[in-house]
């Protein structure tokens, strides 16, 4: 199963990227190559193998419910590309 240009366009949308037609073609080729390489994983029988999500096992890491000082409002807004103090401002959502 190889990835198609349409799938690449769909993926680009899901990951909020915009690709030109040339780029779609280029990336489709690259991704297809990698996915083909990755097919080798199917050689293995892994039905009885547990997936690993965490390399070093650890459990129950929690903290007490204590409040610490917040960032000053100015620091929070400092890196904003567009601000309408005290808010961040963005173009409208699509609903």
């Amino acid at each position: 199963m190889s990835i198609t240009a349409d799938e690449v366009r769909h993926i680009a949308l899901l990951s909020r990227l915009e690709l030109s037609d040339d780029e779609v073609e280029l990336y489709t080729g690259h991704l297809a190559e990698v996915l083909k390489y990755v097919e080798k994983l199917k050689e293995l029988d892994v039905d009885d193998v547990e997936p690993t999500s965490h390399a070093i096992p650890m459990f129950n890491v929690m903290r007490e419910d204590e409040v610490m000082p917040s960032l000053p409002q100015e620091d929070a807004l400092e890196n904003a590309p567009d601000r309408a103090d005290p808010y961040f401002r963005v173009p409208k959502t699509t609903e």
Binding site: L13, S53, V61, M68
Partner: protein
């Protein structure tokens, strides 16, 4: 063809932890925008989440109270989607191993019918921030406030087990009561700490398969949910009656217009690409710890109602009203602890106190000026015979307004009953003389006239005589009846 609704709810509860679920910033309603934030909940590069112990504990209490299966290990997963109120563009939630599954909640319909509603799952996640819509340079914009981002949110997903607006209402009331009983949230719908998302589909009566489900968001109160439900039921029925198909979608309730509106299809279908959150280790839920939590659960509404019936001899309906809110139930019991007069308290609370609660500002019993001490004192004074029922009501109302203790009010206003039996007898004798006609009628067997005569004595005493005593005296003097 008749259609019936199939209704389910997704309940969102903002948990009462002081700090947020994955960072130690203040989790409070109403702050200046973007002042309760830190680098973690802003989603700055390099930041990492750390789980709040209390958020987990409060969530487990709910799972226990809803009779869920609680797994040995629970984990967090990332739910990936882009939205400006979600700083990381993923929400840390639970998809594969939530902390509670296969639970159930019993709801009570007016009239006494009970029904069990299934709980599909309960999971803990972080809430998003808030958007305010505005216009800037002629274009629509959103203003983003991230104070609420990453506060603890418990999501309770019910099974689509409800079949009528009554059942839906009972579900919401029961859920709210339960959560307040557990003290896991203040459940203030106006502030958004409790939100209900409605799922509704219609199917021909008698059909087994469900129709197409529609989700309705943006309903800010129980009444609004019921209005939205009513609207959706009609809208969907109309479509089906015309032979059309209902579109599976999410709609927004517009309370002003009284209608639901379609959210235009979001870019990229709902592919959340859930995968285990690598930054948070799994949580082992120790069975012994669960048992301690279970033992510490407060007595819940239904158990309390039944106990009130048994212990205090209250009618089932009254017991139900008192038990509906834990704070009210506790108030009632504290009164009886101070002075034993359950039926009196029940009456006063139901008639005078409950009407002060709720409302637009969601007033609580703790917000009132009156305390169990007030009621107990009043009941005691009533029992002693110093005042009668009518006076007691007047005093109660005054106390509600001013917060003054009953004794003080009675003294200041000189409301004490006339206890001097000599004085009462004097009034009785005066009335017998003044009302010769009615006295004659009563003597001759017209029982009703007694009330009139009692009323006259009460008038003379300015309401401060005990009606029972007056009655007895009149009977004795006119008819010679012994008490």
């Amino acid at each position: 063809m008749e259609f019936e609704p199939v209704i389910g709810f997704e309940t969102h509860v903002e948990l009462a932890a002081k700090s947020k679920v994955f960072c130690d910033t203040r989790a409070e309603f109403g702050g200046e925008p973007n002042s309760y934030v830190c680098e973690v909940c802003l989603g700055l590069p390099g930041t990492l989440p750390v789980l709040n112990k209390t958020s987990m504990e409060l969530s487990l209490k709910v799972a226990l109270a809803l009779n869920c299966d609680i797994p040995e290990v629970t984990e967090f997963d990332r739910k990936n989607y882009y939205y400006p109120d979600l700083p990381k563009n993923y929400q840390i939630s639970q998809e594969y191993r939530p902390l509670g599954r296969n639970g159930a909640m019993t709801i009570l319909m007016p009239g006494g019918r009970e029904k069990t509603v299934g709980i599909h799952n309960i999971h803990l996640e972080e809430d998003a921030g808030k958007l305010v819509h505005d216009v800037y340079k002629g274009r629509g914009v959103s203003l983003v406030d991230l104070n609420r981002a990453s506060t603890s949110l418990l999501e309770i997903v019910s099974q689509p087990d409800m079949r009528s607006p009554e059942e839906a209402e009972a579900f919401m009331e029961t859920m709210r009561s339960l959560l307040r009983y557990l003290e896991v949230s203040d459940c203030k719908m106006q502030e958004g700490s409790l939100r209900f998302e409605l799922n509704v589909s219609m199917r021909p009566k008698g059909q087994k398969e469900f129709g197409t489900k529609v989700e309705v968001k943006n309903v800010g109160s129980v009444r609004a949910v019921l209005r939205a439900l009513d609207y959706e039921m009609r809208r969907q029925t109309e479509i089906l009656e015309d032979g059309g198909r209902v579109i599976q979608e999410t709609r927004l309730w517009d309370d002003e217009r009284g209608e639901t509106r379609s959210m235009r299809v979001k870019e990229g279908a709902k592919d959340y690409r859930y995968f285990p959150e690598p930054d948070l280790p799994p949580v082992h839920i120790d069975r012994e710890y669960l048992e301690t939590l279970r033992k510490d659960l407060p007595e819940l509404r239904d158990a309390k109602r039944k106990r009130f019936v048994e212990e205090y001899g209250l009618p089932d309906y009254d017991a139900g009203v008192l038990a509906a809110e834990k704070a009210v139930a506790d108030f009632f019991e504290e009164c009886t602890r101070l002075h034993n007069a359950p039926k009196v308290y029940s009456n006063w609370i139901m008639v005078y106190i409950l009407r002060e609660l709720g409302g637009e500002d969601e007033k609580e019993i703790a917000d009132l000026k009156i305390t169990p001490e007030h009621l107990a004192q009043l009941a005691q004074i009533l029992d002693s015979g110093k005042i009668n029922q009518n006076i007691a009501k007047k005093v109660l109302n005054k106390s509600l307004q001013t917060g003054d203790l009953p004794e003080k009010i009675i003294q200041e206003k000189g409301l004490e009953m006339v206890s001097d039996s000599g004085e009462i007898e004097k009034f009785v004798d005066e009335v017998i003389v003044e009302q010769a006609g009615p006295v004659e009628e009563y003597k001759n067997g017209k029982d009703n006239t007694l009330n009139f005569l009692v009323g006259q004595v009460m008038r003379k005493s300015r309401g401060k005589a005990q009606p029972d005593t007056v009655q007895e005296l009149l009977r004795k003097k006119i008819r010679g009846e012994q008490p």
